[in-house]
Amino acid sequence: MQRLRIIAMIGLIGFSLFVAINNGMAARSRPQQNPASDDAVSKWEKRIKPVLKRVPDNTEIFGYVADWDLPNAQYNLVDQETEYTLTQYALAPRAVQPGLDHEWIIGNFTKPGFEDWLDQNLPAYEVDEIGFGIYLIHRNPQ
């Protein structure tokens, strides 16, 4: 029994060490180890933040529309949800509300035909292309 206990201890410790080494290797093999390269969140922030230079300083709330609003569009729900969350995160403390109900609206489109959809749903608007599929839509400009 003594021998079995020694084996059990060494086995448990050894296996834990093995798992720990795997953890280290997993961390090492993750991409973007170069501190100079941006992580995905920082990259998204860089895409969204130019919006703030094109709206009045007192803008407190944005609308948000994306591929998931376009009829019959194919999209990955997880990606859409993540991009919406990252947009809110980037623009905090301004609120980002799904829909077209606000004067300034962030558009996040990778699919063609969004202008037709906007024409059907907004009486008058202007679109400013920010880049990387990001648009700033100004509803009912003066």
Binding site: I6, A8, L12, V19, N23, L86, A92, V96
Partner: protein
């Protein structure tokens, strides 16, 4: 910037260590080590409570360092008055037996890997995971950027996943760090996560070293730090690991309080339970669990002595939580559109129990994402090593704490207003991680130590 991000919490950590030392006179080496790691949560927790009160009472957001310094000053004065300013003389003999050294060396290796992992992920994912971006860091950003108008950060317009009723220990610690450093330093949330992860490991090690032996402590802690799922969650910058830290801290202090018949330690256990509730809503039922455990383990006859001590520790965080709930009126998502009738119908729906069980079994097997089930491994290990008969009721019954929290979590799933399939898939692995360290603590208090079985 990472060193500055640690330094900004320096006074809070010292204050926390001092507070633990004030309430607990033991100067054994393992106790001093335990005080150090308990001080992390105590210091950060009390500072964030004080900072919240400061935000409520005065305009602006400055003063985080002053609060820490003031807290440290008060604790130093208290220590001087009670003539407890030093840790006294102590000597420690290093045990050079193989049974101590081998697990110790393995622990050092696992610790080094865990540190590397944490630092690597802090660089790869400096903004944490989805929940950090949707809830915790978003809250911190909103509060920080709003300045005097910080209460608007709780507007329901800011993201439909916002969980406005979530408490503020983590976000306010981040805000305080940013205000002190003068900008949104990216490393501050990572540093807080690292402090709580290694603080939890330190509590596990020092607690078991004091209650059992160094080798037992090394084995328990290296299993904790080798757990892939726990390490990964610690990089998410959410409140899960800090919550787990406070659970473990409260349970460890509770066991020590029972063994040493110390109301001071019981008070500290209450403080940690209160801080769990100030970290995440799952801490609220934990407070009830600790109160019930106090009555069960200390005995109903001693309730008039013991419960007030626990409640005294709970008082300050509870007052903070009450003020938070009053000032930031937000309903809990579990009970919105989920009245008594709906809850009752769910409780009597057997399909929900089956659905939960169908998720639970694979999650338990996968617990912590070990390649071989850690539960199976530990059961085999425990069977081989044999059980220790403890004279301490708290040690024998310590399993009640994780078991009760587990039952509460399953109850929450039963009554959830969310789609049950989604809710269990989304959160069950994380919730099981909350109670994993508590279970490890109970297990390694229950199982024979290497010294015990090898010396037979």
């Amino acid at each position: 910037m990472i060193l500055q991000s640690f330094a900004v919490f320096g006074f809070a950590l010292l204050a926390g260590i001092g507070l633990i030392h004030l309430f607990w006179e033991n100067n054994d080496p393992w106790a001093i080590l335990l005080k150090f790691f308990l001080g992390i949560g105590a210091g950060l927790g009390i500072t964030s409570c004080l900072y919240f009160l400061r935000l409520l009472l005065f305009p602006g957001q400055g003063g985080f360092i002053l609060i820490q310094a003031g807290l440290l000053g008060c604790i130093l004065v208290a220590l001087m008055v009670r003539k407890r300013l030093s840790f006294g003389k102590f000597s420690y003999r290093v045990n050079t037996s193989l049974v101590q050294i081998l697990p110790g060396l393995a622990l050092i290796a696992v610790l080094a890997v865990a540190m590397y992992y944490s630092i690597a992920f802090a660089r790869i994912a400096p903004h944490g995971d989805y929940d950090a971006q949707a809830i915790w860091n978003l809250r911190a950003r909103s509060i920080y950027r709003l300045g005097d108008a910080w209460e608007q950060a709780f507007s329901p317009l800011i993201n439909r996943n916002f969980h406005m009723d979530y408490p503020l220990l983590i976000p306010l610690s981040v805000v305080g760090g940013w205000n002190t450093l003068g900008s949104e330093v990216l490393r501050v949330p990572s540093v807080i996560s690292i402090l709580f992860l290694f603080g939890m490991a330190g509590i596990m090690f020092a607690g078991i070293a004091g209650l059992r032996s160094g080798s037992q402590a090394s084995i328990a802690t290296l299993i904790l730090l080798a757990t892939p799922g726990l390490l990964l969650i610690s990089t998410f910058q959410t409140a899960d690991i800090p919550l787990t830290y406070f659970f473990l801290a409260s349970a460890t202090l509770f066991i020590l309080a029972s063994n040493q018949n110390s109301r001071g330690l019981l008070c500290l256990s209450g403080l940690m339970a209160g801080m769990a509730a100030w970290t995440k809503n799952e801490g609220l039922p934990f407070i009830l669990i600790m109160a019930v455990c106090t009555m069960v383990i200390f005995g109903v006859r001693r309730v008039r002595d013991t419960l007030p001590a626990l409640l005294a520790g709970l008082a300050f965080p509870l007052v903070t939580i009450v003020l938070f709930k009053i000032n930031i009126s937000a309903s809990n998502d579990l009970f919105t559109n989920n009245g008594l009738q709906e809850i009752a119908s769910k409780l009597f729906d057997p399909s929900r129990y089956l659905q939960i069980a169908n998720h639970l079994l694979p999650e338990l097997i996968r617990l912590g994402e070990w390649p071989i089930s850690i539960i199976v491994l530990l059961l085999i290990y425990g069977w081989i090593m044999g059980a220790r008969k403890s004279s301490s009721a708290a040690e024998r019954l310590s399993w009640l704490i994780p078991a009760s929290q587990f039952i509460i979590y399953m109850f929450i799933y039963l009554i959830t207003p969310y789609d049950l399939e989604w809710h269990t898939s989304y959160s069950m692995s994380r919730l099981l991680i909350h109670i994993f360290p508590l279970s490890l603590l109970s297990f390694f208090l229950f199982v024979n130590t290497p010294e015990t079985v090898l010396n037979k």
